[in-house]
Amino acid sequence: MIEAHVSATDRAQAAGPCLTCMAAMALIVVAVVASFAYLGIDYRALVAGDSLRLMLKFIKEFFPPDMSGAFLAKTAWAALQTLAVSALGTLLAVVAGAALALPAAGRLGTAARQGARLVLNLLRSVPELVWAALMVLAAGLGPFAGVLALALHTSGVFGRLFAEALENAPREPERALHDAGSGAIAAFVYGSLPLVMPQWLAYTLYRWEMNIRMAAVLGFVGAGGLGQMLYFHLSLFQQAQASTVLGAMCVLVVLVDALSSRWRRGLAPAYA
C-alpha cells in the first residue's frame, strides 16, 4: 500500500504540479486567514500613530534597568533559587522516572507495563506550568511547588526515555548474572544498569538544561525564583526592576546554552 502511494506521487510529479501539495497549500492559507479573522486582532491599530507612541513609551520605561547593589543581590538570590528548583526537580524526576521505567519496560508483566505507560503519558502531557498551578494549591506558594511541578512533568518524560533505553539494551549480561545465581536486584544493577547509565545521564543533563529555562518561568503562578520576581514587579508597574530580572533570565539562558553545548561536545565521543 505504501508502494502504491509512492508510485502515485511519482506519477503525479512526472505529470506536472502535485495536486496534493497544492490542496495542502490552499488548506494552510485558508487556516491562516481564518485564524486571523477569528481572533479579530486589529493590527492596524497597533501601528497607528498614537498606539505606536504609547508602545515606545512602554519600552522606554524598561530603561535604564535597576542596577542598585541591593536589587542586584536580590536578583542573584532569585537566580540561585531558580537553579536550585531546577536541580532538585530534575533529581526527583530521575528517581521517579527510573522507578516507573522498570514496569514501563515490561519487566514486571504486561499489566504493569500498560499501567505504567498510562501514568507516564498522563504525567508528560500536562505542561509544567499547569502542574505548577496545581501544586501551588497542594503545597502553598513558594519554590517547593515549582520543584514538585518540574518533578511530575519530567518524571513522565524520563520514564518513557529510560524505559526505551532499557528495552534497547542487550539482556545477556543480566541473564548471565541471574543464571549464575545472583539475585534480581544485583543482576539488574551489575548487568543492565551500566549499559543504560551513559544514556540515562545524557537525557538527565539535557532535561536539566530545559528545566532551568522552565524554572525561571514557573514563578508566574507563584512557584518562586526569577519568574515570581518578574511577575511581582510587572504587576506593580516597576518596569526598571522588571527589566533587571529579564536581563538576569537572558544571562541564565545564554550561559546554560553555552555551557551545555560545550559539555555535550566534550561528552560526544562517549555517546556517539
Binding site: 485564524s35 504609547l54 536550585a84 502531557s125 502553598g140 518578574l230 539562558v253 545564554v254
Partner: protein
C-alpha cells in the same frame, strides 16, 4: 608464594574496593544537596498539612464529574478555537519574520564568499548581526514575552500571537538557515557562479533539496505552538489557559477537569495532524 598471597587476596575480596570513593561521593552529594534543598524551600511535609490537604482534596473531589453544562461547554469550545487560531496565526507571523532573516543569514547564498568581492566585510557583519538578533529573539521564552506584552496590549490573544511570533520567529530563522546550509549547496553555488541572483539561487538551487525538511520542521513547530498557547493563557493571553487559570482561582474542580480533558484531546489532535502532514511531506 601463592600460599602467602592467598589470605591477603581473600581479605581484599571481602571489602568493597570502591568503599572510600562511594563514601566520598555520598558525602559530597549531601553537602551539595543540603543548600539546594534550603534554597528551594524543600518541605515535603507541607503536602500533608491539614489546610493544604483540605483545599486540594476539595478541588480534586470536584474533578468528578467534569462540568458539562451548555454555557460552559460553549465557553470551552470558543477558548479551544481561540487557542488553535493563536497557534496558527503566531506561526504564520513567525514564518514571515524568519524567512528574510534566514535568507540573509544563509552562508551558502553569499555571493561575496565565492570570490573576495567588494562587499565581503559588510556581508559578514550583516550575517553576524542577524545571528545575534535571532539569538536575542529566542533567548526569552514565549511565556515571558506574553507576560510583558499583556501589559502593553491588554488581556487577550493579541499578546500571545505576538509573543509566539517573536520567539518562534527566532527559532525558525535559525533552523531554516541551518537546514539550508546542511543540504547540498553545490547547485546554489553553481547558479551563483553562473551569475544568477540570490533569490533565484535560493529557489532553484537550495529549496528543491531542502523544502521537505523545512516544511516538516514548520509543522512540528506549529504542534509546539499549540501547547505553548495553552500555557501562555495562564498569564492572560486568552484561550484555554486563561479559562483554566480562572477555574483554578475559583477552585472549580469540575471546570478544571473539563478543560484538562479538552487540552489533552487538543494536544493529541495536534500531534496526529502534524504527524500526518509530515508523513505526507516525507
Amino acid at each position: 608464594m601463592s600460599a602467602a598471597l592467598r589470605p591477603a587476596l581473600l581479605d581484599e575480596a571481602q571489602h568493597d574496593p570502591q568503599a572510600k570513593a562511594r563514601l566520598g561521593a555520598l558525602l559530597l552529594a549531601l553537602v551539595v544537596l543540603w543548600p539546594l534543598a534550603q534554597l528551594a524551600e524543600f518541605r515535603p511535609w507541607l503536602l500533608f498539612d491539614g489546610a493544604n490537604l483540605k483545599v486540594m482534596g476539595n478541588f480534586l473531589a470536584g474533578f468528578l464529574p467534569p462540568a458539562t453544562n451548555a454555557e460552559f461547554l460553549g465557553l470551552l469550545l470558543k477558548a479551544t478555537l481561540e487557542t488553535l487560531a493563536m497557534a496558527t496565526a503566531g506561526i504564520a507571523l513567525a514564518f514571515v519574520l524568519a524567512l528574510p532573516l534566514a535568507f540573509v543569514m544563509t552562508q551558502s547564498l553569499s555571493v561575496s564568499r565565492i570570490g573576495p568581492g567588494p562587499g565581503r566585510w559588510r556581508s559578514l557583519a550583516a550575517r553576524a548581526a542577524v545571528r545575534a538578533l535571532l539569538t536575542l529573539l529566542r533567548a526569552i521564552p514565549e511565556v515571558v514575552w506574553a507576560l510583558v506584552l499583556v501589559r502593553a496590549l491588554g488581556l487577550g490573544p493579541a499578546a500571545g500571537v505576538l509573543a509566539l511570533a517573536i520567539t518562534y520567529g527566532g527559532m525558525l530563522g535559525k533552523v531554516y538557515a541551518e537546514i539550508l546550509e546542511s543540504s547540498d549547496t553545490r547547485p546554489a553555488r553553481a547558479l551563483l557562479e553562473a551569475g544568477s541572483g540570490r533569490i533565484a539561487a535560493l529557489c532553484y538551487g537550495l529549496l528543491p533539496a531542502a523544502a521537505q525538511e523545512l516544511a516538516s520542521y514548520t509543522v512540528y513547530r506549529w504542534e509546539c505552538a499549540v501547547r505553548a498557547s495553552v500555557v501562555m493563557g495562564f498569564v492572560g493571553a486568552g484561550g484555554l489557559g486563561q479559562l483554566m487559570d480562572q477555574s483554578m482561582k475559583m477552585l472549580n474542580g469540575g471546570e478544571a477537569s473539563s478543560i484538562l480533558l479538552m487540552f489533552l484531546a487538543l494536544v493529541l489532535l495536534a500531534d496526529a495532524l502534524s504527524a500526518g502532514l509530515r508523513k505526507l511531506l516525507a
